[in-house]
Symmetry: C3
Subunit: 205 residues, 3 copies
């Protein structure tokens, strides 16, 4: 596969795990009907990339223009609705799917911004925005204060993944899979933060 193919594949994987996360959140938090579950799953999955493309001036955004992303998002969300009962344990994994999406989208978001000609600083910010954007829309739509503001170690892993992706790109490492290192660092830091309840310094009051 060409590097571009790998990038699409990583993007589709991120789309699937975020759609599963969004659909599980819908079921867990709000007992929505099938349309609500699919809508929330799809917005969680493609929202971050759509926001990035709006900011970059890429239109229509890849997540809407490329049918593969839409189909994966819709199908993964619908699948969750259908099989959620036998897979009730999946709901406990909602954080893991979110962290996986965070890692994958920090890679693809950063590379998409770099390919569109963004500066390193902007690419890292937009890469992290891609990673945290979908989950932020998910939280806004379900009337919750977004994880990006409240959760310990959520933005920092996304920025780490975006920074690592840029570093690998800048080093001109000719191995697409190398980017997975950056995504894995993002995923790992996020999960360590969840597991050990690590948090950034808080306001002392």
């Amino acid at each position: 596969m060409s590097p571009a193919d790998w990038l699409v594949l990583l993007g589709l994987a991120g789309t699937a795990v975020f759609a599963i996360n969004g659909a599980l959140t819908a079921i867990q938090a709000a007992r929505l009907d099938i349309v609500g579950v699919i809508t929330l799953g799809t917005i969680t999955a493609i929202g971050g990339g759509v926001l990035r493309d709006i900011l970059l001036g890429v239109h229509p955004p890849e997540g809407l223009a490329d049918w593969r992303f839409l189909v994966v998002a819709l199908a993964a969300s619908a699948l969750v609705f259908v099989v959620h009962k036998p897979l009730a344990r999946l709901v406990r994994w909602v954080t893991v799917f979110d962290a996986a999406g965070l890692g994958l989208f920090s890679i693809t978001g950063t590379l998409a911004a770099l390919h569109a000609g963004a500066s390193p600083l902007l690419a890292i910010i937009l890469g992290a925005t891609t990673a945290v954007g979908g989950g932020t829309f998910r939280d806004l739509l379900t009337s919750r204060v977004p994880l990006i503001l409240t959760s310990d170690l959520y933005a920092i892993p996304a920025l780490l993944g975006a920074f690592g992706t840029w570093a690998i790109w800048a080093l001109n490492w000719q191995q697409p899979l190398a980017y997975l290192l950056a995504g894995a660092a993002c995923f790992g830091l996020r999960m360590v933060g969840v597991k050990f309840k690590l948090h950034a310094p808080r306001v002392q009051t």
Copy 2:
């Protein structure tokens, strides 16, 4: 009138009914002052079209660039503020105005996307987005979980109207009023859903 004139007329009608709905919601839900009522009415009215145009890369968005849409949105919202007392019964009609806007904007949103060169799939999605977008902003701004996620049969009528509009367009039916059939189907399905409390399948728990 030319087909383009009809399209503008349908868009202005949708703008007016959504502005009335948003302004009534503001009065009903939050007892806002005149600026709040006009702001919420206007955002409800032009928000869906603005979101569609941002996603399509049309700028400035039609709802901001064409003064007729702004004037209709502002005037309809202001009118609601002025006459709401003698017309207190109007508040009961808030759902009807919302359904009418849903039907009208599913037509104009889909056609705007098709005219901008969108694929059928994207045009139907953006047509439905135009229809549900304004109400979603309205709900977010008033701290409510959006109807698109919670309400039985809200997204499905919008998608039906957008699909019908695309079908009539694809059949090259040379009669602008034919599109009203698609809008009426959307409006009808939405109102039937409200009346009979129909809902899409829910999660069994």
Copy 3:
């Protein structure tokens, strides 16, 4: 300094006061950690300008593309986190910083829209949008109904500042500092409204 330099300086000042306001809001309302404080401060600071640029089709938005805005927003937010304890009284000033940002951004937002070729009506609307946008994102992200809807005299000062800026621009007044008159009128009206609890007419029920 050239007029363009003055404009950047006013924009940076608005960015700083809105970042301080957003960071103080984060501390006051939600006891967020350092990442949450910096994120909310930065979004409050650059959100309005980013929204304006998206609507105008300017990409990437100035607030993301020009590193000076990002650095000022990040630094001012971080500073608040570090020094908030000795400066606890600052929290009482949260409204003053918000009003100052409102005044400064009503100037720079209107001029940015005029420079991008917007009509006077659109420029005034987008100028006011720039001024109120960041605070609206701040309120949405912290699950509050935005000030733009609920607060007495919030949108009206922003529109006044934008209108005054346009008027000075249309009169071709060759003195950049003249724009500060428009911003001061916005700031003054907002503070008078806060002080005397003035409000626009409300719905009689």
